[in-house]
Amino acid sequence: MLVVTRKTEESIIIADNIEIVILEVSKDRVKLGITAPKDIKIIRNELRSAQEANVESSKQLTKEALTALLNLKK
């Protein structure tokens, strides 16, 4: 992993056309500004995890699992 130290208002450039600027730094939070072409998708990592979790959870239940669930007593 490349590690770069930056100060507020300094930035890095990725692949000539993506700029990430450090806007604000506080105790455990960093505010980033990102300038990139419109077709570059930018999402928070947790969002990807949330999407993956939903996709996994949407899978059809096996007949055994469905029966077990329906027989669950609270």
């Binding site: 928070r44 969002l47 949330a50 979790a53 996994e56 949407s58 059809q60 055994e64």
Partner: protein
Amino acid sequence: MMMINTRDFGEMEVETKNVFDFPNGVFAFEDDKRFALLSPLGEGTYPMWLQSLDHSDLCFIVFDPTLIDEGYTVTLNDSEKRLLKVNEGDEIRSLTIAKIPENFRETTVNMKSPIIINPANNTALQVILPHDYPFRYPIYAAEEVK
């Protein structure tokens, strides 16, 4: 009452009070804007089935996270509150989506991104909580040890 097609139970009737609007859909299924909450184990008993009304093959098994973790805390940001039209102190309801593998004892629930419902207007939203909750929390792990 309305008739809907479900993934696990065929055609069935649901009361409109159990139909919820998801203006943003849910993560990875943004086009599914309406879901019905089914209680095949009896009214008020979890798990419940969150069935999409837009695609009958999309359905999630959901639990009440506050029954799994008594101290479960939901913090909404301003845009989430605006979307749900909730104010500080309003009652909200949370649902956690389960992942049910072949061995159903290995079921996990997603405590990090629950579905939040405003019961006053039947609007619902899936959020990502700022708290340090897991995406896959095993609910039967404690029993497994026995």
